[in-house]
Symmetry: C2
Subunit: 155 residues, 2 copies
DNA sequence: CAAGATTGAGGAATCAATCTTT
DNA sequence: AAAGATTGATTCCTCAATCTTG
């Protein structure tokens, strides 16, 4: 009895597939929006995470982006070359550097952020706001479960 | 007034972030499970999609995986070298090839699939099955909305 | 010319190794 | 030795160009 896994009745698997597809479409949509600002999705994510006043350590960025340290180093290299950010040696720990927004970076961030957020509003308008609230709570529960599982595995 | 985008009150944005994080954790978890079978996440996805009897065209695989044609070509190259699949020239259209499971591929798929599905059950056990049903319906609505938006943009 | 598949070149992310500072 | 960051080598994926068949 041949089985194609996509026809599995397993609910968890069907949910999993939807998460996957939604992610792909979200990334693709982001890509279209951010291309107008000459930003890759990852570069935008850095801009979005940065604190305007204090900046952020590269370590912190890689933690929040769930990516390797070296990835952040290279992203910051690019963005420094584009004069969107600059590296400031941390005054209290000379091993560390803070990634700081330049004026141009802060300006670009504001504009890209507006475009991105309005695009999200449009893309999510299939749900009304009470549905979105319910969804938000369920997603939080799922994410927390996944985090717990992840940490249990690495212990 | 400095604003860190992660503190935005915009509900759509917070939902978006959760989708992103959930995807990252799901991929990471899959990676751990599939490593035991010497499969990358993408290779597993190919195995999972293949029809046991008819196989599938490379075109169809790239459509269902939302990835470039050349990506599938290379994945199939690897998996053919590992003797998990083989290419069969389509009898009715000699441009096309069907990717077919070998006996070893079918066996590996069955084992990997079992491990993957039970891992998913575990990772999603924060929701009971009625919650999962509700979630599934909302996710379908969102995915369909994203697809519609995507197709409107490319028209 | 269009469709299915492949190839070469380039970008993006990762791991492991390294350097500096704590 | 451990933490923050960087570099080199490698893998994975994509785009553009190409080849073959319809």
């Amino acid at each position: 009895m041949p089985i194609n896994i996509d026809e599995t009745p397993l609910l968890s698997y069907r949910v999993y597939r939807l998460f996957h597809d939604i992610y792909i479409y979200l990334e693709g949509g982001d890509h279209c929006v951010l291309r107008e600002f000459n930003l890759t999705n990852s570069q935008y994510r850095i801009l979005a995470l940065l604190d305007e006043v204090e900046g952020l350590h590269l370590m912190t960025l890689s933690d929040r982006m769930f990516c390797a340290r070296s990835t952040v180093t290279r992203l910051v290299d690019q963005m420094e070359a584009a004069q969107l950010v600059w590296r400031e040696v941390d005054s209290t720990d000379r091993r560390a550097q803070r990634v700081r927004l330049t004026a141009a970076g802060a300006d670009l961030r504001k504009r890209a952020q507006q475009a991105h957020e309005s695009s999200l509003e449009r893309r999510f308008d299939t749900l009304d706001s009470s549905e979105k609230e319910i969804l938000y709570e369920m997603l939080k529960k799922i994410r927390d479960g996944l985090v717990t599982d992840y940490e249990a595995r690495n212990a």
